[in-house]
């Protein structure tokens, strides 16, 4: 059913239909509307779940860890400092192979304190073993949550999945959303069952100490699962497309006017909407521009990216985060990917935009486009106010 919904409310509605048995969260802007709505749904008996109000994000993640370990489907959501505080548990959840689903309402990191959107928070747990998916629209965020449970709980996977949605832009934006029915969602993700759980009739030890004789292989197996995810995620995406009659891309990436594109933007999340408009403008002027949207950042779909870029001459990576002292994280991954293309590799430039909620406008993307064909850069900040920088000197 099509409804005009706020992003957070839409997420709560879809999570309700995914039927988690335990929900735990700690308030942080801009995630709060999601869990407020879920708390109300539990209070109104619309959702049969235990809602656990905790004293920190570290405990929010630990509560869903414990509940998921009993074999119950769980949900939590966080943002920014909250994600950083729970980072230790985030890594632990993946190592324990617990298929928890979490929404991250992407937001800047302190200091200075700033509640607005960018994607620096998720990059701090980039290497945790979680599947990291990025939504461009509220509809896509809704759809990715349903797929997240399907992907994570697949016995071949058994890994947690994080759905990233840009804070405020998507969490507080309004959009017409095609909300699937309880029945449709229930059919797509049947109740969670597993033999890997705490069970008094079949006692298991979870969370062993693994010495150097075992640790390397256990970590390798997570990496191996991520490789297998490169075929499992498209499988789930195509099942989703069949069941719900919508969905662009193959679950890993999506191309926009890429077929003959020579100049390609690469980006993740809501900024892709702005870039689509830019591409249309450029195309209208006869420029062969296109967009490669990364949906699955982990696993990183290297082969799909290379195929998508096979005709590209110039590539501009639009990062909404930065590894300070290094480069934009997506830029780094892209460089690693194209390094295998040899002399056919496109020229890749890296740009950092929109940190701390600075608007990314059509003009910002135009700026990137102009620099794409200029001198190759690896970490160029776009939209800097020179007068502020001069003041700081």
């Amino acid at each position: 059913m099509k409804q005009f919904l706020e992003g957070s409310h839409a997420i709560a509605e879809i999570i309700k239909r995914c039927k988690p048995g335990v929900v735990s969260a700690y308030p942080i802007t801009p995630q709060t509307h999601i869990v407020e709505d879920l708390a109300q749904m539990v209070a109104d008996k619309e959702l049969d779940a235990q809602f656990v109000n905790v004293e920190s994000e570290h405990s929010a993640a630990s509560v869903v860890l414990g509940a998921q370990a009993v074999g119950v489907r769980t949900y939590t959501a966080t943002s920014s400092q909250g994600l950083l505080l729970m980072a230790e548990v985030v890594f632990n959840i993946a190592g324990l192979r617990l298929p928890i689903v979490m929404t991250t309402a992407n937001r800047a990191i302190s200091a200075p304190i700033n509640i607005w959107n960018d994607q620096q928070d998720v990059m701090t747990v980039r290497d945790s073993g979680w599947v990291l998916l990025f939504a461009e629209t509220i509809q896509e965020a809704v759809d990715l949550h349903v797929q997240a449970y399907k992907i994570g709980e697949d016995p071949r996977v058994m890994l947690p999945v994080m759905v990233n949605m840009d804070g405020f832009i998507l969490t507080h934006g309004m959009e017409t959303v095609d909300m699937p029915s309880q029945e449709e969602v229930g059919k797509f993700i049947p109740p969670y069952t597993t033999t890997y759980k705490l069970d008094v009739d079949n006692p298991q030890t979870m969370g062993y100490l693994a010495d150097p004789d075992y640790y390397l292989e256990i970590r390798y197996l997570v990496q191996q699962t991520h490789r297998e995810l490169l075929s499992i995620i498209p499988e789930v995406a195509s099942q989703f497309k069949k069941a719900f009659k919508r969905g662009e891309g193959n679950g890993l990436i999506e191309g926009y006017r890429l077929e003959d594109a020579e100049q390609v933007f690469v980006a993740m999340g809501s900024v892709c909407g702005t870039i689509r408009d830019s591409v249309d403008e450029l195309r209208a002027k006869g420029k062969k521009a296109g967009l490669l949207k990364i949906i699955s950042y982990r696993p990183f779909p290297k082969d799909e990216v290379l195929t998508a870029l096979s005709r590209a001459r110039e590539v501009a990576v639009v990062d909404k985060s930065v590894s300070l002292g290094g480069f934009g994280p997506v830029y780094t991954d892209l460089c690693a990917a194209v390094s295998s293309m040899g002399p056919k590799a496109p020229k890749v430039s890296g740009f950092v935009l929109g940190l701390g909620g600075r608007d990314i406008t059509l003009k910002s993307i135009q700026d990137v486009y102009e620099r794409m064909s200029g001198k190759q850069v690896d970490c160029e900040f776009i939209g800097l106010k020179q007068e502020l920088l001069a003041e700081g000197k």
């Binding site: 335990v22 405990s59 630990s62 414990g66 998921q68 009993v70 008094v200 030890t205």
Partner: protein
């Protein structure tokens, strides 16, 4: 050997008080029990992959979060309608309890989860090499509170964890000692018969960290109680009930059998200071026998 849910073959040191305590707890709780265990000696010596000493469902996540993990286990069991038949225990050492784990414990108590929290108190971070914790006693020589020409060791008193637990208004708080195994069993049994959050702190000597002979574990544990330095008491719905001491012994008897207090013996003022702590406990917890 009687049937136990905590199997031998683990790698605890000879004379480890914590291994004895853990076995007493789980064998009293029985097989319908799930355990969330913080990082620490117990976790390390009982679950080295691919072996495990535990015959009940057991999970280790991190150093400080067993209370939150146990809260999640309890919430999941409630969701499944199974909570009434299954005990949930969160357990940790003294550092994992009184220092790094305190926030999560407070949250679990305040939310009223039906979980028994067990702190195995060996009075320092033994797993990492005898560093001072919030439950290290006054004037103890540890590797991070060493005695020296300008120091007599740890300058601060033990954090009053049982009182901190009781201040949350939880129904049952107790201290116990592996020197009194039946008392441990009795308290665990009582705790598990009460719904809501419970806290038991068990004194568990560590021969390596306390530097006593490994066949002295029970004697050292008993001396701590008999001197008044480790008072055994319960707060049942806030009401204090203490275990009386038949014959109170001077603290020197406890100090002299342990290397961690050796530096105090030639210092009468220091011994007096420790005796004052025992005297305070004896009064506060009414440890003196009436007879």
């Amino acid at each position: 050997m009687p049937e136990t849910l905590f199997k031998p073959g683990h790698t605890a040191c000879a004379g480890c008080g914590q291994a004895v305590g853990a076995r007493l707890v789980i064998d009293t709780a029985g097989k319908n029990t799930m355990i969330a265990n913080n990082t620490g000696c117990l976790e390390v010596f009982s679950t080295k992959y691919p072996e495990s000493a535990w015959c009940v469902p057991w999970i280790h996540s991190l150093f400080e979060n067993c209370s939150a993990v146990a809260s999640g286990i309890e919430a999941a069991l409630k969701y499944l309608g199974k909570k009434d038949t299954i005990n949930v225990i969160a357990q940790a050492g003294d550092g994992g309890t009184a220092d790094i784990g305190l926030q999560a414990i407070s949250g679990m108590f305040e939310r009223g989860h039906d979980v028994l929290y067990v702190c195995y108190d060996n009075e320092a971070y033994m797993n990492t090499g005898i560093q001072r914790s919030g439950l290290t006693p006054t004037l103890t020589n540890t590797t991070t509170s060493p005695s020296g020409s300008a120091s007599l060791g740890n300058p601060r008193p033990k954090k009053p964890m049982p009182e901190i637990a009781a201040a949350h208004g939880i129904p049952y708080v107790a201290t116990a000692s592996v020197g009194y195994p039946q008392d441990v069993q009795k308290k665990v049994k009582k705790a598990l018969s009460i719904k809501g959050p419970k806290y038991i702190q068990i004194h568990v000597p560590c021969p390596l960290g306390w530097r006593h002979e490994s066949d002295m574990t029970f004697d050292v544990a008993k001396l701590a109680v008999e001197t008044g330095l480790y008072p055994l008491f319960e707060y049942e719905y806030g009401k204090l009930v203490s275990r009386k001491i038949a014959k109170i012994k001077p603290v020197e008897e406890y100090l002299k059998v342990q290397g961690r207090f050796k530096h105090l013996l030639k210092n009468p003022d220091a011994v007096k200071q420790v005796q004052a702590i025992a005297d305070y406990n004896i009064q506060k917890y009414q440890l003196k026998s009436e007879a």
